[in-house]
Amino acid sequence: MKRASLRPVLAIVVAAVVAGAIITGLLPGYWTYLATAVLISAVALQGIGLVAGRTGMIALCQMSFAGVGAWTVGFLNVGGAPGGLAVWIVIGGLAAVPFGVAIGLPALRLRGINLAIVTLGFATAFDAILATITFPGQTRFISVARPAMFDGDGGYFVFALLFYVALAVALEFLARTRLGAIWLAVRHSERAAAAHGISIPRAKLSAFAISAFIAGISGGLLAGYLGTLVADNFSMMQSLVLFAVSTMTGAQFAEGALIGGILAVAFPEILRRLDLGQDIGNLLFAIGATQALSAGEAMSETLRRKVRGFRGARPAAPHPGVAIAPPAPPPRHQGVALATRELGVRYGTVVALHGVDLTVPEGAVVGLIGPNGAGKSTLIDAVAGFLHAYSGSVELGGRAVDGQPAHVRARNGVRRTWQTTRIAPELTVGDYLRLAGGDLPEEQVGAILSWIDCPHPDTPVASVDAGTRRLLDVAGVVAARPKVVLLDEPAAGQSYDETLKLGRRIAEIPNLFGCAVLLVEHDMDLVRAACSEITVLDFGRVIAAGPPAVVLEDPRVRKAYLGIEEGSAAA
């Protein structure tokens, strides 16, 4: 763990100690009581922030998970289970996890909207069930026992604060792991994440299960706070309001969750004192959430951007030139890295690819060219596993991969880039390289970045220009050292000089990284600079293949590109 990444954790702990001392030491009891409610809401918001804010899913049953946690705590309390409240709360959190998995498993492989529908359905079902079974001890007025140390308003505030800080620190660490980067990548583009070998369902399910755990904890805390509970504390409307608040404040960050907690407690309190209806607060959350969605930025994100601007962003100076050479390549075998056999793709009545045989030998850079609509990108989609169906076969290193989904193919040795860059802007350059290439040592990250002229690893991707992001795409796929990389028009949007330089870099890929390259490109100078062989597609068929000098002089190729016979072009 780097020193830089410890700073936010330290900030959370220091802020918590200071705020805790002020609130317990100086404020009157009722304020401490309210502050505890703020913390419990903030814990619940951290849970939903992980799913909604960080991973980009709509989850509408967080308070039901909280209800599961609270019910468990009530049950253990009535049964007099050993361990006391702190242990019960953790057990309550764990009890919510199987529910999260059971709901998430069927929903997460399909369209994102399904999760919204199934979670809202679960919230309704849970309302009906909870109203019938009631909380343990509710009818006999058995209150949840607090630990002697943390009894009283001040004591329980400290108790809740400990949970909030522990979760905030744990989430901050988690956000910095590869899993944290995976969540952001999934939120930004599921396809691009799968192309890096990430299993989308597993990534989503892990976020959903952890958020259910946190929600369960918040329910347990609420049980200890209120003593006795009623079903209304966990109703479906509460879950919807929680979603709106987290969308508005950006609860994926500790400060966003805290702001949300403050608003969720302060609005009803202020409205109550003004003798206005407390439900008006929900209207404000609805407006705030809609505003955040239309701006594409929640409160905590705005705050972070402003603070960064104030501190002055670190200069994105390029890494010093030839600092470290990338490590030696793995041994190369003479063989075929990628082959397609009779590859055919149809969209309805349109035939996009027609019996394409293409071979990329190991250690080679093969160019795939052809006019627009020739089927180049379709071929990449088919090879990388992003098409529902194709005929024929795709072989990686001599082994057919046809039944495999995209992320499995990526792990088995085929990586691709996209025509438009799909890097999550919240990551840093180094994060992205580790996301794409696995857990690379620090020097390798620096070496690969300087090899292709990308900025320092700590630079946020958001501050990197579009052209450089395309280079970063290339750096990402080669860092994984697959059998073959598929580059889809990497030079689009680059200047002439940059293009030539990129061509030289691409030509170096087989020697430096041990991968073969299939390069789709329109820029003939780049193709000439990088490729040892060229295949030409036109209307889904291979019309020529061979060394660049021969293929580019072929009259059929010229006709396909220019649309006319050479003789008439001169006329």
Partner: protein, 289 residues
């Protein structure tokens, strides 16, 4: 046996309304690409206008007309928000927006209708239409199912047979591209929102007397509606309609058994889970991302 049949038939009114709401959800999704969580809340708004006017002494037909207009206006208002600010957003952002709007509508609704304060909902179409094998078929159930069939046929014909339907389908796929080739995108989208607003309001008016009569509970009838739409995969109007009726019938059947009847509210969830598990057979990618 007869008791069971009676409850099954009793579930038909709810089922018809679910089916109709579900068909509206599919209509909205196919035409303006929004999974609309506010649908039932829009209908509830119109229904409460009817109730409040009726309680104030207005004749039923007038109250009903005003309610339908209010529901249409509410639908259009939501539609304007969606088209003005979120026309080019992703499907999941649009859904998130409607969830946020639902929270806001319910807050306003509860405020204006006095929260849990009981209201008297007039039965719009009282009485029994016919007796079948000793069981009463109510006007309400026949009406919702009949309307469901009519709306399904109209929607299907409109989308596949008319030029405007073609335009609207283009609109949902790529609003910007549709606008560039001269489709009056905004006006058509608002039209869709208005129509679904009116139809949902009508189905809510019929089903409201059987439900707990507060604004929040009625707004959450969007859950069985979306469950029905999911059964139809947000594509097929007919399967959605049948799915909605089925949900109502299962709920009705459960109410016969004393131990089960409290858990009626869990039916849509279980059906959603079953449908999703069944769909697991093939993973598919989220829309073009």
């Amino acid at each position: 046996m007869n008791a069971l049949l009676t409850s099954v038939v009793a579930g038909l009114t709810g089922g018809g309304a679910y089916g109709l709401l579900g068909v509206c959800a599919v209509f909205t999704y196919r035409l303006v690409a929004v999974v609309n969580f506010t649908a039932a809340a829009i209908g509830t708004t119109g229904t409460f206008v009817l109730v409040m006017l009726y309680e104030a002494g207005a004749p039923l037909w007038l109250a009903m007309a005003c309610g339908l207009v209010a529901g249409t206006v509410a639908g259009i208002a939501i539609g304007l928000v969606m088209t003005a600010w979120f026309a080019e957003s992703s499907a999941s952002t649009k859904a998130a927006v409607t969830v946020a709007l639902l929270v806001g509508i319910v807050a306003i609704g509860l405020r204006l209708t006095g929260g849990q304060h009981p209201h008297h909902f007039p039965d719009l179409f009282p009485g029994s239409a016919m007796r079948l094998a000793g069981v009463e078929l109510t006007f309400s159930s026949l009406l919702t199912i009949g309307l469901g069939v009519v709306f399904t046929v109209l929607a299907e014909t409109f989308l596949t047979r008319t030029r405007m339907g073609l335009h609207l389908r283009a609109l949902s796929e790529r609003p910007m591209a549709a606008e560039l080739i001269g489709v009056p995108v905004r006006r058509l989208a608002v039209l869709v929102w208005g129509i679904t607003g009116a139809v949902t309001t009508f189905s809510l008016m019929i089903i409201a007397p059987q439900r707990s009569p507060d604004f929040a509970s009625l707004s959450l009838l969007v859950v069985p509606a979306l469950a029905a739409a999911l059964i139809g995969l947000f594509r097929s109007f007919w399967i959605t309609l049948v799915g909605g009726i089925m949900i109502g019938v299962v709920e009705g059947t459960m109410s016969v058994f004393p131990g089960l009847s409290q858990y009626r509210g869990a039916v849509p969830f279980l059906i959603i889970l079953a449908v999703l598990l069944w769909l697991q057979r093939g993973a598919r990618w989220d829309e073009a991302r």
